[in-house]
Symmetry: C2
Subunit: 411 residues, 2 copies
Amino acid sequence: MSSPISPLAPKSIPDMPAIAGVRLATAAAGIRYPDRTDVMLAVFDDGTSVAGVFTRSKCPSAPVEWCRARLKSARARALVVNSGNANAFTGKSGREACAFTAKLAAAAVGCKTTEVFLASTGVIGEPLPAQAFDGVLSKLAIEATANGYTDAAGAIMTTDTFPKLATAQARLGGASVTINGFAKGAGMIAPDMGTMLAFIFTDAPIAAPALQTLLREGVVDTFNAVTIDGDTSTSDTLLAFATGAARGAPRIARAHDPRLLPFRKAFNAVLANLAEQVARDGEGARKLVEITVDGAVSKPSARRIALSIANSPLVKTAIAGEDANWGRVVMAVGKAGEPADRDRLSIWFNGIRVAHKGARDPAYDEAVVSTAMKKPEIALKVALGLGKGRDRVLTCDLTKEYVAINGDYRS
Amino acid sequence: MSSPISPLAPKSIPDMPAIAGVRLATAAAGIRYPDRTDVMLAVFDDGTSVAGVFTRSKCPSAPVEWCRARLKSARARALVVNSGNANAFTGKSGREACAFTAKLAAAAVGCKTTEVFLASTGVIGEPLPAQAFDGVLSKLAIEATANGYTDAAGAIMTTDTFPKLATAQARLGGASVTINGFAKGAGMIAPDMGTMLAFIFTDAPIAAPALQTLLREGVVDTFNAVTIDGDTSTSDTLLAFATGAARGAPRIARAHDPRLLPFRKAFNAVLANLAEQVARDGEGARKLVEITVDGAVSKPSARRIALSIANSPLVKTAIAGEDANWGRVVMAVGKAGEPADRDRLSIWFNGIRVAHKGARDPAYDEAVVSTAMKKPEIALKVALGLGKGRDRVLTCDLTKEYVAINGDYRS
């Protein structure tokens, strides 16, 4: 299945600079389709630290379990990612496929299997034919170049309609360091497929525990604040690799080292950029929706209310229909189970207040609101008037194309 | 908007017997559309006890707040239900509309306003023009007959495609008693509308506290085990009225009186019947889906896993596409946050085991499964293999028609 590029796609793909200590290559290993680029290898110089966050699913994929176990050593020399098969719900054969892939990669790169990280995306429940990587990974290790980011981002796409890349520079001590990242689609996004994958690379010398803290804190308002359909993949994986090869940069051991402040800002910007691209490529999406809740009793309360709105099929279909249906927003606030007072609620669509203090806004003008709802980006704001809790999540609308993509493919 | 009758509708509408002490009538009050039957009045004999359960929304409608406050007196003489306007998110004018409607009904019936119960369904956020009931309710009080159930069920429909009625008889002591009920659509089911309403009537002499316990316990595996889209209305209301007019039946003060056993069974059957009809009339539904989870660590855990599956857009679209996509079921089990062991999971669609112990069933036969998935009723069973917790919920598939009904109506 191939879909036209999402109308919400960024206008251009960024130029990705090289990062010292990172080389990438891609190949067509024939995992699911012949002649389709479906595997990427990243090779890291010795001394690269690694951190990761994963799906909270109780039924994670084999590569997720593999990576979790490998994080203890905190060192990475290779990353192998394939599309076409998620290696999820594959039992013992899934674990064996991971071990076999890691063995091939370790031989190709010249490292221990415990220094190899893995991610897979594609069909669930089919054994991963890891023997297809035999001969391929050794070739990729030789071909890998510092300029392979765009190809790598393409290799991990499934039903993504565009590759998702981001880059940023930051000062670290007296040095300039680079952060590159790429990602693929959100949540359970495709026929039989389940995965959001994202990989971040930097030449900054950051110790693994500090990198882990950066990542854990960084995802809260970026990847964890995006929802397409409320469904959680078995395979969500976000890994960060720091080669430490930047010249003149100080080694950072603690995430809250004040010297790390500009880096942290740039790192979070890359995460936020990729997460937004994931929302922009939601299945069938025609509208990017930013939901802001303020005046909640706390930030977690605001988050839960924002997610209740973002995951409501009735709110999402209303936005698809270009309808500023604030009654459904009230419904979604009410069902969140969080403190809310109907008579203090106000609701805005793209800056226009449509409801105020528990009733339709007296100044409500249907024509003005209808025009605002035609825009491809919708900012939906809810003010609860109870406290200072504020949060923001991103989502997209729910269209007939979503149902077609996820329901029609067998017919 | 009017849709063709759901293909999942029951083959016939039951004949509703009279219940001593209950009379009903309907009228067109012009609440939203001219000449459309949109209000019903039920009149109860003196001595009728009442019980109720309501939406858990933190932003309930004005009639929900009205009924909650009236339940304290535990006596009912009248029930007024209108369609066309939900009287939700209407602030002070909503409370005034309730008080005014109750005043008209009390005058018409000859009772106190505290003995009048109210429910409304229709658009949210518009003031309810309760003055439209002036003159109408007094006429209805005169016209009310013991045979008005089918008309009453029709009067409260919004985008329901068929009226939902059920009836049962039971022995109570040496007497025969009757239970009648009717309901309208599930969850947030319609353009701008929000309401599941259901009303149960019996001539059994059951004191209000016992009736309340019966109702509270009865909804757990009936109305609370149905989900269409995971959205919770501001107006969900289920009221039960017991006139006590059955000749020769003993007065029941306690819900767990052993003499009540046959009645309880029949009462729960009426609730279950109506709840199933609500699922059968889910917006755009083409498949009725029964989800059974067993082997969970507890019944509440099984319920949460079953609801996670039932509310997953990816599971629902797969069923719409007649695809036994067990990978998505695994995903939904995994995201429920409840104990689950991927390597013990088994999954059945309409009795055919498709996944077993963490992998595709070795005997999986695509042709057999495809044929089974074409049926209008899908039984999806998940066995977790952890404990003895078991539960069951009903839902429907997610089709393009759902999106059309909820997203297209402005265009």
